[in-house]
Amino acid sequence: MSYMFTVSPDFSPDRLSGWYIFNTWMQRQMGVDIHLELYDDFCAQRVATYSNKIDLIYANPFDAAMLVREKGFLPMVKPEGLLDEAVIAVSAESSISTMDDLTAKLKVAMTEDPDVNMIGMMLLESADLNDDNIEKSIFDSYILVAKSLLRGNDDVGVFLAGSYDDLSNMVKKQLRILLTSEIGEIHHSFLIGPKFADRREEIQNLLIGMNENEKGQGVLESLGFKSWEKVDDEEMEFMIDLMDTLSV
């Protein structure tokens, strides 16, 4: 029997090889075939998960909510200390200096990252901005969002905070952060599908113990993680409830 594994498409391109290394590590530890399927965009990945093709997923909070509530997935672990926060940024030369300067008809650059956009829209809402009075441009990656700001095509960009940090220093020097969310409760999670629920605890323990040996530490490093931490059912349910409050 083989597993199908996928990763939320919002990971940094620098981590691509890391996920393949991680997949090899998992196969050796678990003694099963695991196929890593990476999708180009959120929509393609969602189609695959809805078609019950996926058994293991490192999911963004938005998709994790759907997978747990609608598809019977179970949470296992989350990366230690990594939270999903959104950054609202402008070009360094922009005349916008605070959130109070934002007005209707604002041009907003964003990706299709669902939870980041949800948090980003929540931040913009306090300036009386919403889907009805802004112009959105959707890009395939955060570097393209940054480029749109630098070219002056959009006024503000919505970034995953971690992805903003991963932009090159040259790009970041030409941008300015207006606001960073401080939610502190929303994170990516590694989930297991219902077909393999009986192996949840075993895999969970393998992942939690990963940082206890040199090999495991090296694999974690290639993902940019320090260690995995356990996520229990109630923590996941709490996060989903919280996300639910932000979706309105």
């Binding site: 009386d128 606001l179 709490f238 409830d241 919280l242 409050t245 932000l246």
Partner: protein, 158 residues
């Protein structure tokens, strides 16, 4: 049962009023006109049991309410009830969430020091195994426009 507010906790000139809180009896409220601005980007999060007794608060809750965590855990959520909030708003909240639906509104909350802060609040029932196990309340920064509307509207609802 909620303890009366104490004069030694209050910062600045205050007014006094007695609120009749649903199922909790009366509470002496001391309140000032000092507003604490909502911090950009933060969420205030708390959970309660089905009776509205606080079981979890986050750091932003502590900072904005002025209470220490141990002072609010086990207390009714109406510890934040400001006298300028019309009772009808809270009746609507409870009617909505006890029927299993999400409630949203603009709320003026009372701080321990008698001051206040405006929030956009969303309350949802926590459904566990098909039953309401409690409620999660998430507060975020409201826009100046909706706060101004509420300042005009709420006095008309008493």
């Amino acid at each position: 049962m909620l303890e009366d507010m104490k004069a030694e906790d209050i910062v600045g000139e205050y007014k006094e009023v007695t609120l009749d809180l649903y199922k909790l009896g009366s509470r002496k409220i001391l309140y000032t006109e000092i507003e604490t601005p909502y911090p950009d980007g933060k969420l205030i999060v708390s959970t309660t049991n089905v009776e509205g007794v606080i079981s979890h608060v986050n750091q932003a809750f502590i900072e904005m309410s002025g209470y220490a965590e141990e002072e609010v855990l086990g207390q009714p959520h109406s510890i934040l009830r400001h006298p300028d909030m019309p009772p009808a708003a809270f009746k609507d909240l409870w009617d909505t969430v006890t029927s299993g639906k999400k409630w949203q509104g603009i709320v003026k909350n009372l701080r321990k020091d008698g001051g206040y802060y405006w929030v956009k609040a969303t309350v949802i029932p926590n459904i566990r195994n098909g039953q309401v196990a409690g409620y999660t309340s998430v507060r975020r920064k409201p826009s100046a426009t909706v706060v101004d509307e509420s300042i005009k509207l709420y006095p008309t609802l008493f």
